[in-house]
C-alpha cells in the first residue's frame, strides 16, 4: 500500500467521547466509518492526519426511525441497507435505487450514507436523491449542534461546511407523500462504475398539475445541486412533452452558466438534458 504515515488510532465508546476528542484534536483527525473512501486515499499516500477516529462501531449512529413526518437515520446505515430496506423502497424508492448503484456488493456492504455525504464527491450516488428529498443533516459539536440543509452542505468538490470539531450524527428527510420519484444514472459500464452524471427528480402532481418539482443533479455542477430554474418551469404547470424538454434543457443551460464551456461540454450539454428528461418521465410514469 501507499505511504502510511504514522498516526494514532482512537476508538471512542460513544458519540460523546468522539465529540470530546474532536473538540481537542479535530483539525488533526480523520474520521473512519466504512473506510471505503479513506483507504483509497491512504493508498495514494496523500493523507496527513495525526489521529484516526473510528466511529464504525458506534451503535448510536446506526439507527433508522420513520414516522408520519419523515425519516431520521444514522450516518452508519450502509448502502446495502438503503438499497434493500423495504421502508426506503416505500418512502423514497429512488434513494434505494441510487444506493444500489454504489460500487460493488462489497463496497455497498461497507460504505455508509454518512460517508457518501461527508466525502463530498461530485458523483456521490445517494446525494442527489437526498437533496431532492430536502434532506437535512445534523452536525454535532461537543457544545452545540446544528441542522444544515444538505444542498448547502457542499462548498466545492470534496469540501463542505463541516467544522473540524463537528461530526455528522443524523440524516433526516420529510416523507413526501404523494410525490413521484425518478432517478437516472449514466455510467460507462453496467456495474462498478462511477456515475458520469446522475439526476434525481421528485414531483408532486395534483390533478395533473405539478405542484412541486425538485430536480437534483450529480456530476453536473461542481457540487450536487437543485436546479431551481428548471424546477420553476415545471411548477404549477401541466406537464407535456415540450415542457419536459424545456425544463431538461434548462438544466443543461444552468450547467454551462455555472461552469462555462469545457472540454466535456459537447457531450454533457445534450446528454444531461436527455437524462433529466428521462428522470422526469420516469417520475411521471410515461415513456
Amino acid at each position: 500500500m501507499g505511504n502510511i504515515n504514522n498516526f494514532a488510532y482512537v476508538r471512542p465508546e460513544n458519540v460523546a467521547q468522539a465529540l470530546d476528542f474532536l473538540a481537542e484534536n479535530g483539525s488533526e483527525t480523520r474520521i473512519i466509518a466504512g473506510g471505503t473512501d479513506l483507504l483509497v486515499e491512504m493508498r495514494q499516500g496523500t493523507e496527513n492526519f495525526k489521529y484516526l477516529l473510528d466511529i464504525g462501531n458506534l451503535s448510536e449512529l446506526r439507527f433508522f426511525h420513520t414516522g408520519q413526518n419523515g425519516v431520521e437515520m444514522g450516518p452508519l446505515m450502509t448502502h446495502s441497507w438503503l438499497a434493500e430496506s423495504e421502508e426506503i423502497q416505500d418512502i423514497a424508492p429512488f434513494l434505494a435505487q441510487a444506493a444500489g448503484h454504489v460500487g460493488s456488493v462489497q463496497i455497498r456492504n461497507r460504505g455508509t450514507v454518512g460517508g457518501n455525504i461527508v466525502t463530498a464527491s461530485p458523483c456521490a450516488d445517494t446525494v442527489p436523491p437526498l437533496i431532492a428529498l430536502d434532506c437535512k443533516i445534523k452536525l454535532q459539536g461537543v457544545q452545540e449542534s446544528r441542522w444544515v440543509s444538505l444542498k448547502e452542505f457542499f462548498t466545492a468538490p470534496y469540501e463542505t461546511v463541516l467544522a473540524p470539531e463537528e461530526m455528522l450524527t443524523a440524516i433526516a428527510f420529510p416523507r413526501l407523500s404523494g410525490y413521484r420519484f425518478g432517478f437516472v444514472r449514466l455510467a460507462r459500464r453496467q456495474a462498478m462504475a462511477k456515475a458520469r452524471m446522475s439526476i434525481a427528480v421528485a414531483l408532486d402532481l395534483q390533478g395533473g398539475t405539478v405542484k412541486d418539482a425538485r430536480i437534483a443533479t450529480g456530476s453536473v455542477l461542481p457540487t450536487p445541486q437543485r436546479i431551481e430554474s428548471a424546477e420553476k418551469l415545471l411548477t404549477n404547470e401541466v406537464p407535456n412533452p415540450e415542457l419536459l424538454k424545456e425544463a431538461s434543457k434548462q438544466v443543461a443551460r444552468e450547467m454551462i452558466e455555472y461552469s462555462g464551456r469545457r472540454w466535456s461540454t459537447p457531450y454533457k450539454e445534450p446528454v444531461v438534458a436527455t437524462l433529466t428528461e428521462r428522470a422526469l418521465k420516469k417520475a411521471l410514469g410515461v415513456n
Binding site: Y9, G34, I107, R110, A191
Partner: protein, 156 residues
C-alpha cells in the same frame, strides 16, 4: 500496536497489529491465509474478498483494527482437500477456473449470495459477482457454475 480479537474461519485469533495494517495484510502476513489476494488495493477488483459478519467485503479497504470483534470467513474456511464445498466442486466441474487468481474471491461472493438468496436468477448471480473482476473466463462459466449449485444440480 493495537490488540485485536476476532474470529477467523471459526477460530478465535488474538493479535497485536500495526494501525495502518489492512485486514488483507493481516490475513496474509500474520495468519498466512493466502487465498485472499491483492489485485488493485482499491476495492475495484474483488480478489481480496472475504466474508465479514455475514457480508462480503474488500479486505483491502478495511483496516485490521476495524475487524476487531468481527467474524471472518476466508476461502480457507470453505471445504478442504478432502471435501470441497459444492461451489468449489462446481467451479472445477464447469471449467470456471482458468488462472485462478480471482477464484477465491469469486467463490466467496457466490457463497454469500446463495446464503442470502438460495435461488437467484441469472441476473442476480451476475450482479453478485460484479465486484469481482476476471480477465480469463469471460464470466460465463463462472455464472454457470453458480447456477448449477443454486438449482441443486450440485448438493448444497
Amino acid at each position: 500496536m493495537v490488540p485485536i480479537t476476532l474470529q477467523v474461519n471459526g477460530q478465535e485469533v488474538k493479535a497485536e497489529i500495526a494501525i495502518h495494517e489492512r485486514l488483507l495484510d493481516f490475513l496474509r502476513n500474520e495468519l498466512k491465509l493466502l487465498g485472499a489476494k491483492e489485485g488493485c488495493g482499491h476495492g475495484e477488483c474483488g480478489t481480496c474478498t472475504v466474508i465479514m459478519d455475514g457480508q462480503v467485503v474488500n479486505s483491502c479497504l478495511i483496516l485490521a483494527v476495524q475487524a476487531h470483534g468481527a467474524n471472518i470467513t476466508t476461502i480457507e474456511g470453505l471445504g478442504n482437500t478432502e471435501e470441497l464445498h459444492p461451489l468449489q466442486e462446481s467451479f472445477i466441474e464447469h471449467g470456471a477456473v482458468q488462472c485462478g487468481y480471482c477464484t477465491p474471491g469469486m467463490i466467496l461472493s457466490a457463497k454469500n449470495l446463495l446464503d442470502k438468496n438460495p435461488h437467484p436468477t441469472r441476473k442476480e448471480i451476475q450482479r453478485s459477482i460484479s465486484g469481482n473482476l476476471c480477465r480469463c473466463t469471460g464470466y460465463q462459466k463462472i455464472v454457470e457454475a453458480i447456477e448449477a449449485v443454486a438449482e441443486g444440480r450440485k448438493g448444497r
